[in-house]
């Protein structure tokens, strides 16, 4: 019976376009009636001390028209007025018998109320509000097209694209989430108060296997949503019934009823496209997808170009050098002592070990801030940057120190996970002698690191972070979107660009992912404790953890206030404090 109704839902003489619009707008109207009544029942939340208070007047200049309008919008009574208007418009939309002018006017009113509520406060809104805004605003904007047939067609196609996008994006983004990939997400969500108290949540909580299976099934069907366009119409409609069932289930488990109406409304437009089998030849869909692909390809090409420019810079006069070690070259930067009276053949040598996936440019400020009476050697470990040698850190450092021509004392300075690279050779001779001083900057605690690598959730989080970096690298988004690497580093332009382009180099991301699993942690603390002079510099971000590591190492401990893990060496003022400790370590080594 159900299948029969899905297969033949039409009355003769009905215009399929009008029928689709009705199927789109009716659920929106019902959802908005409920939403308006909801808004009218939570008055105290709109008060000036309520969580849904208006915030639009913040930042506006008192006395201006904008300020007066925003203040009126923020008033506690305004959302009730908007709810009343929205309610009236929704009733008109529902009872308007699909008359086009009525429908458009009601959509304009609902869309305007939705927008004003959003301007009033961005807090407390959900995905159903977004879909409602898309549908009602698209209905209004498309009505400006004089040809009604063309206007309605464009409206339905545009809503269909948003609907398809909403499911596909939601599923695709989940593949970047370790808790979805590992099957934990839904089980964890239903344990929360907000989303785990629906009548069906208890059922799921008692069935972990089912919950895990549903966790995996959710992104799979969401990504597969475009299948509805490829199968015969009746099966496409059956699949859409399944999707509606999903929204009902979400309401039952997570108490999110508004999603049912917002997304069921968009299905009217999907059915329209499914029914016409028009997707492959549609101009709108082709235009949108082609433009999106073209823009992404452009940003990806631009990023590849930027990385190539950075490689050229490194090969230039102010760039890095190469030293053949074993089967290939090691990329390094050697800054010899320049202070008057310093003998370069006996001056101390400071070895700089960078963190995971980071370039030697990260040492730019520390190098610039230290005295010039010792050698500084920074390099890229195997697989990073232009290093082609497969030599391990000990072999590479041994060769680099010999290359300086100095027989002076050795000092090692490491940032982050670089301390584990250092621990790999700190108990061995480097160019015929041992390291006598070490400065650990926001170092990775070997014990915690070992624990993390045994914890599948933490390993999952790490891999997720690497995957998102790889996505940003391949699409070139990192050149346009804000990110922590850029925000927490303020080098001179060349080094800043070098750092960003290096960190988002696909090869370096891949290498960092492998290196994470390669470090030996078993003897690391013992080896580091055997270095005669030990210092630790902590960032504010990891202050507590670093204090504990300093205790384990028996190291002097210094905190760099207001610093993060990266900015502790990425900001000039922080690097100055680090440089002072390095100088102390050099003096102790001599």
């Amino acid at each position: 019976m159900l299948l029969h109704r899905i297969r033949s839902p039409r009355r003769s003489g009905d215009d399929p376009r009008q029928r689709a619009i009705k199927a789109t707008m009716a659920p929106i109207a019902v959802g908005q009636i409920l939403s308006s009544v909801e808004a009218l029942t939570i008055g105290p939340l709109y008060r000036r001390d309520g969580l849904l208070r208006g915030v639009s007047a913040r930042g506006t200049v008192p006395g201006t028209l904008r300020h007066r309008l925003a203040t009126a919008l923020d008033a506690p009574a305004t959302p009730k007025v908007l709810a009343a208007v929205n309610l009236a418009a929704s009733v008109v939309l529902l009872l308007g018998r699909n008359r086009r002018p009525v429908q458009i006017a009601a959509s304009a009113a609902i869309g305007a109320c939705n927008r004003l509520n959003e301007v009033r406060t961005p807090y407390g809104r959900d995905g159903a509000d977004q879909m409602t805004a898309v549908i009602t605003q698209y209905r209004t904007v498309s009505a400006l097209i004089p040809d009604a047939e063309r206007s309605d067609d464009l409206f339905l196609r545009a809503v269909n694209l948003q609907a398809g996008l909403s499911y596909f994006v939601s599923g695709f983004a989940k593949l970047f989430g370790s808790s979805w990939v590992q099957g934990d997400a839904l089980g964890e969500v239903v344990q929360t108060q907000a989303y785990g108290s629906g009548p069906a949540a208890k059922f799921l909580k008692s069935r972990p296997r089912l919950t895990r299976a549903l966790t995996w099934a959710t992104p799979i069907w969401e990504i597969a949503f475009p299948v509805v366009y490829a199968v015969p119409e009746r099966w496409g409609n059956v699949l859409l019934v399944g999707v509606k069932g999903f929204h009902v289930a979400v309401a039952a488990v997570m108490e999110l009823p508004r999603f049912i109406w917002g997304f069921t409304g968009s299905h009217g437009a999907v059915q329209y496209v499914v029914g016409r089998h028009a997707l492959p030849s549609s101009k709108l869909e082709r235009l949108v997808l082609t433009a999106a692909v073209a823009i992404t390809a452009t940003t990806a090409t631009y990023a590849a170009g930027q990385r190539a420019i950075d490689v050229e810079r490194r090969r230039g006069l102010k760039g890095t050098a190469q030293l053949q070690v074993g089967d290939g070259d090691v990329e390094y930067l050697h800054t010899p002592p320049t202070a008057a009276g310093t003998d370069p053949t006996t001056a101390p040598v400071v070895i700089l070990e960078a963190g995971l996936g980071n370039p030697l440019d990260a040492w730019a400020w520390v190098s610039a801030m230290t005295r010039s009476d010792f050698h500084l050697v920074a390099y890229h470990r195997r697989g990073y940057g232009q290093t082609t040698s497969s030599a391990d850190p000990h072999t590479a450092v041994d060769a680099l120190v010999r290359h300086t021509g100095s027989s002076g004392p050795l000092v090692a300075v490491s940032h982050s996970i670089g301390v584990l690279a250092l621990a790999g050779y700190a108990d061995r001779e480097v160019a015929g002698r041992r390291i006598t001083s070490a400065v650990v900057i926001d170092g990775t605690d070997p014990d915690l690191f070992a624990t993390d690598r045994r914890d599948r959730k933490r390993v999952g989080s790490f891999l997720q972070s690497q995957l998102r970096s790889m996505f940003a690298a391949l699409t070139g988004i990192y050149n346009f979107a804000p990110h922590a690497v850029d925000r927490q580093s303020r080098y001179e332009p060349d080094q800043q660009m070098g750092t960003v382009q290096f960190v988002f180099g696909p090869r370096n991301i891949y290498r960092a992912t492998r290196e994470y699993f390669e470090f030996d942690t078993d003897r690391a603390l013992d080896v580091l404790r055997a270095i005669p002079n030990r210092y630790l510099v902590a960032s504010q971000e990891n202050a507590t953890q670093q204090a504990e590591l300093a205790r384990k190492l028996g190291a002097g401990h210094r905190l760099v206030a207001d610093s993060s893990h990266r900015s502790v060496i990425g900001y000039r003022q922080n690097a100055k404090q680090v440089a002072a400790v390095v100088e102390e370590a050099v003096d102790a080594a001599g």
């Binding site: 807090y123 909403s166 983004a173 970047f176 998102r468």
Partner: protein, 185 residues
């Protein structure tokens, strides 16, 4: 005839706006938080974010705690008290759930404050931000007692599915704020 041309032009602009909005929405919805605010290219038109519960779902309960005191170091403040707005759960929530808006607003504000903290924003910048002001006013309204002059709030994430000491994650401790609205610090 000229009127037709004007209508045609308006129609073309409308179709162009819809297309631009769709393209911007597609580009905006990258799998992770790496994205650019593309609203500037579509006249400020809000772009929907479709990454529901992704890449990582919110799996924490947000708790708002307050304590009161005289605001300086001489007195002993009261114990922290949990004043998180509660969500009444009922079978009708499946079809009609107005009480979810308040906790969602608190969750949204807490998310913004968490991001600010994670980015090492200066504390005075956090204190002057919209979410801080919102939570301060809400906490003030929910204060269980008003005998002291000042109060402080604490935002805490509680992860029910985490293990042991990883369950509780403090996000932010506020400055000492006046119990009476409009009080000066």
């Amino acid at each position: 005839m000229p009127l037709d041309k004007v209508r045609g032009a308006i129609g073309a602009v409308a179709a162009g706006a819809l297309t631009a909005h769709l393209i911007a929405t597609t580009l905006f919805n990258t799998p992770d938080s790496f994205n650019l605010d593309l609203r500037r290219y579509v006249g400020g038109w809000t772009l929907p974010g479709w990454r529901f519960f992704a890449p990582n779902p919110g799996v924490q309960n947000v708790h708002l705690l307050v304590r009161t005191g005289d605001g300086d170091t001489t007195g002993t403040p009261s114990e922290w008290q949990d004043i998180t707005p509660t969500i009444g759960h009922h079978i009708t929530n499946v079809v009609f759930h107005p009480r979810s808006r308040g906790p969602k607003a608190l969750f949204d504000a807490m998310q913004q404050l968490s991001v600010m903290k994670a980015n090492y924003s200066r504390f005075d910048w956090i204190v002057s931000s919209t979410p801080y002001e919102l939570v301060t006013d809400a906490a003030r309204a929910l204060l269980p007692m008003r005998t002291d002059e000042r109060f402080q709030f604490l935002l805490v994430n509680f992860f029910p599915s985490a293990v042991g000491d990883q369950r509780v994650q403090p996000i932010l401790v506020s400055e000492w704020e006046h119990v009476r609205p409009g009080g000066r610090n």
